[in-house]
Amino acid sequence: MQLKLHIMKNSIIFFLLVCFITNTYSQIDSNIISKNEFYGTTLNGLSIDKLMKSDGNLNTLKNYFGEPSESNINEKIGLKAYVFRGLRVNFREGLSGFTVLNNEVIINLKGKSFKIGSHINALGHNIIFNTTSSGDKTIILQFCEGCNDYILIDFDQQTKLIKEVRYVILT
């Protein structure tokens, strides 16, 4: 009986260890905002929601970002990839994702405006940071835990200045 108890005790310890490790290694630290706030995030005034609905319509995009500096239209695989001033956005059977490249795009998130080069304090002071595999900090925004889509804000680890903003749809 005591041997069984011993095994049971150690099994529990092991279970707790596994739980702890699983929890530690699998969970990202993201900032959960509302769905409206998430899709209402704007790039030069164009919300993500509208960007998705544009389905890569160049005229719509031009209204907000001007003429694209690069275009890659590959009908064979349904790809429409544009680089505007400060924004790269791809469509392939819908929005693939975008990356803000420089400070020519003003991003408005939950009423807070920022751009590439802004200090992360522009996002507020209650930001939750995610730790990458290399130990760097990043900022992830989602509207639900484990949501497939997320906004990723990368910043300089020393100066805390934002250097990249991406919208990612996991494949």
Binding site: K35, E75, I77, N90, T131, T132, C147
Partner: protein, 801 residues
């Protein structure tokens, strides 16, 4: 008068015979002195600041040992009364518990069980303390009977000894030899034999004692039926009743009519009641010296492998100071460590187990252990142990082979092989390797003979590719108590003390070698570090095999090192490294050595081809790569399996995933599922990354397979002249990368490395527009390997039929 004399003679004969019988069979009746032993023992331990140890916290080792112990003690206990020895031998708590737990006379549920027990077959159990006290005066008679039995064996004994050990006969008079032998060694053999292990000269000893016991059985049968009604038994009953009022308990044994508890401990020679073992190391050293003397007598004339090995051992260390002491301590430590499942990591707590009599002082052990390192360098103990096994293999290949083959893979032959090396620690790796190769019918003795056993890890120009301080590990810290606690349960008795003793990760790893998880972990680690150096190991070489092929160095250090040896560099080929040729120290394991030899002697092993997937699978043995977070493994499946809105699935899942994610490590080759033409090789920086699209006809239907997140380089592409490139199922179409959104997701720990497989099927119309005429379907249906609906991989069919 005549009848009166006859009656007296008859009575005397009965009493003497019975007393001899009772004693000769005493081991059958042992149990009663320990009925009240629990509390007393625990009290004594507490008095001496020893933690309470649950002796029932035994592993199967103990239980197995018990059988051997019980069986042999019953049969082979020497048939003469030696109170001192009896007390020493049977008061050991471990012996007691083993006996008590399994004894047919025990009754753990009823501590008040009578100490005498009779049944209709007229057998009985008896309180040995009572027996000793009651028959104390009969010692001379019993001795006489014992001598009669032994003398009856003398002629046969002489003959056998003379035949087996002629040189012994020449060197000394037989009478003296016989007497010395019996006095000095039979008791020792009995002791060893009762331990269930370390049975040297067992054949000889068993034959001798077995014949002795045969006679006793006859003797017993003749007298036993009369016992139930005898005066002797009635006296014993009375004694039992008296004893209940006399407060006689364990510890009140008498020796020479003096209570043990009233004696100074010096009267028990080196035996110390309070400590539970011999206090002085002298006795142990003496034993070892005696053992060596024995080998000395028989060396050169015996075919016994033990003799040879012992001689090797002695020769190797004969110039060393304090040989006996070191020998004793090392042997005792190693044997004891193997025997026990767990011991608190204190340096002052005496051990339990068979070697309890060893002057067990951790500080001392440490001192000697590290002395060996100072003298012979790091890993000296490990190498030496392995060397001993290898010496046996090299010098006695036929014998060992025969032993192994005759015994199959079962216990006795292997045990013998283990016993062939006096200290059989560290033999596991070699033993397992040998067994493994026998199983695979790949046992090559010539190869084994050529296996270097000394400094085999050395390399003149090794390339150290990794060195980490294991103390900085956050999980599975090898010196973490919790880890060991868990591991003790999971791995069947690895001891914390064992690890602490060696403080060497090499030791830990050696033990973990028996666990397949270890090989996966090792392979994964190697893969990780090779990747950091720009070496991409294909997925076809699984982590398991990678771990088997390569090896960690380390030894008695907290630093874990991977290095590529010169030898390995020379022979390992086609390893998808920029320089092409790499390996590591392959010499620590025979299996690795064999693999290396195979590679060197025959053809380079193309790992990529070795485990090419069946047609229909883009990677070997495909597994779903789970999503991190709540989507989990289902999130890696096709359909409404994720979260984020847009569809309605089960369990609240509401985000569509247009393909399946299959695990693939960076650099793994990705294979064409079906024959077909390369439809396109696009690049979508925001999502799919570098991709390959292949158009195939499957069951008369046209499909496009899309493989995402590849590396740009080495992708199959369109022909230079613009014609379509045709690939066959199983052709490598590219290598796993982290392009598109994957690299970022991996970096942020949102996803793990995978190839995203998407399949679109043509709608059967006459139009062939990618967006309009191809519909996304579930790729699972096109895989060769069945993926269950819960995301797990079904049975893998490597026959590709």
């Amino acid at each position: 008068m005549r009848s009166y004399i006859a009656f007296l003679l008859l009575a005397l004969f009965s009493v003497s015979s019975l007393s001899a019988q009772l004693y000769d069979n005493r081991s059958r009746y042992l149990r009663a002195p320990y009925d009240d032993y629990d509390d007393r023992y625990e009290d004594r331990r507490e008095t001496h600041h020893q933690p309470k140890t649950n002796y029932r916290h035994t592993t199967n080792k103990y239980r197995r040992s018990y059988y051997s112990y019980h069986k042999n003690v019953r049969r082979h206990t020497r048939p003469y009364l030696d109170v001192d020895e009896l007390y020493r031998e049977f008061r050991d708590p471990d012996v007691y518990y083993r006996y008590k737990d399994r004894s047919p006379y025990s009754n753990n549920k009823n501590p008040d069980e009578p100490k005498f027990k009779f049944n209709c077959y007229c057998s009985f159990s008896i309180d040995i303390a009572s027996l000793i006290n009651w028959f104390g005066s009969q010692k001379k008679e019993i001795e006489k009977e014992r001598k009669r039995i032994i003398d009856g064996m003398e002629e046969e004994y002489l003959k056998e000894l003379n035949e087996r050990y002629p040189s012994y006969r020449k060197e000394t008079s037989f009478e003296k030899a016989q007497k010395d032998f019996f006095k000095r060694y039979v008791g020792k053999f009995n002791s060893w034999y009762s331990q269930g292990e370390k049975v040297t000269y067992s054949d000889y000893q068993k034959r001798f004692v077995h014949k002795l016991s045969e006679r006793l059985e006859v003797f017993e049968t003749a007298l036993e039926p009369s016992m139930a009604s005898s005066k002797v038994v009635s006296e014993l009953k009375k004694h039992r009743d008296r004893k209940a009022n006399l407060n006689i308990a364990f510890g009140d044994l008498k020796i020479n009519n003096k209570l043990v508890r009233e004696m100074p401990s010096s009267q028990y020679r080196n035996y110390d009641l309070s400590y539970g073992g011999y206090r002085s190391g002298v006795s142990v050293v003496q034993k070892m010296v005696s053992e060596r003397d024995l080998y000395k007598h028989f060396s050169g004339t015996s075919n016994n492998l033990n003799d040879y090995m012992s001689q090797q051992y002695i020769n190797q260390y004969k110039k060393e100071d304090n040989l006996e002491e070191r020998f004793a301590l090392m042997s005792a430590y190693l044997v004891d460590m193997k025997e026990n499942s767990y011991r608190p990591p204190s340096n002052k707590i005496p051990p339990k187990g068979f070697m309890h009599h060893v002057p067990y002082d951790f500080d001392d052990i440490y001192k000697h252990y590290y002395k060996s390192i100072d003298d012979f360098g790091i890993n000296s103990l490990i190498s030496f142990s392995k060397a001993k096994a290898l010496v046996a293999i090299i010098n006695y290949p036929d014998q060992i082979k025969k032993i192994l083959e005759e015994g199959g893979l079962k216990g006795s032959a292997i045990d013998y092989f283990k016993n062939a090396v006096p200290v059989n620690y560290e033999l596991n790796t070699i033993e397992n390797a040998v067994l493994s190769r026998i199983k695979n019918q790949a046992f090559n003795w010539d190869e084994l003979k050529n296996l270097p056993y000394y400094n085999h890890q050395n390399s003149k120009n090794p390339e150290v590719v990794m060195s980490i301080d294991l103390r900085k590990r956050t999980f599975l810290n090898f010196h973490d108590r919790k880890f060991f606690d868990v591991d003790i349960v999971l791995n069947g008795g690895l001891t914390l003390a064992e690890y602490n003793m060696h403080k060497g990760i090499g030791e830990v790893l050696n033990d973990l070698y028996n666990n397949s998880k270890y090989w996966y972990a090792e392979g994964a680690t190697i893969r990780h570090f090779l990747k950091a150096k720009g070496v991409n190991i294909p997925n076809s070489l699984s982590n398991y095999n990678l771990g088997k092929l390569f090896d960690f160095g380390g030894g008695n250090t907290n630093t874990l090192t991977i290095q590529f040896s010169d030898f390995a560099k020379k022979y390992i080929k086609n390893f998808h490294h920029g320089d092409g040729i790499y390996g590591t120290s392959l010499f620590t394991d025979i299996v690795k050595f064999a693999l290396l030899k195979l590679i060197a002697d025959q053809i380079p092993v193309d790992f990529a081809q070795a485990t090419k997937p069946c047609p229909g699978d883009p990677v070997p043995n495909p597994e779903i790569a789970p999503q991190k977070g709540p989507s989990g493994i289902l999130g890696g499946m096709y359909g409404c399996t994720r979260y984020g809105g847009g569809c309605v699935g089960q369990d609240g899942r509401d985000k569509f995933h247009g393909g399946i994610d299959l695990k693939a490590n960076y650099g793994d080759p990705i294979y064409a599922m079906y024959d077909g033409f390369v439809y396109s090789t696009g690049y979508d920086e925001e999502e799919a990354g570098y991709m390959v699209l292949i158009q195939s006809t499957v069951n008369g239907e046209t499909i496009i397979q899309e493989y995402f997140h590849l590396q740009d380089e080495k992708r199959v592409g369109l022909n230079a002249d613009g014609t379509l490139n045709y690939v066959k199922a199983g052709d490598i179409i590219g290598y796993q990368g982290d392009s598109g959104n994957l690299g970022n997701a991996i970096k942020n720990k949102i996803a793990e490395s995978h190839v995203h497989l998407k399949i679109k099927k043509h709608d059967g119309s006459n139009s062939w527009n990618y967006e309009n005429n191809f519909n996304i379907i579930n790729p699972k249906d096109y895989l060769h390997t069945h993926i269950n609906n819960d995301g797990t991989t079904g049975q893998i069919n490597n026959k590709c039929n």
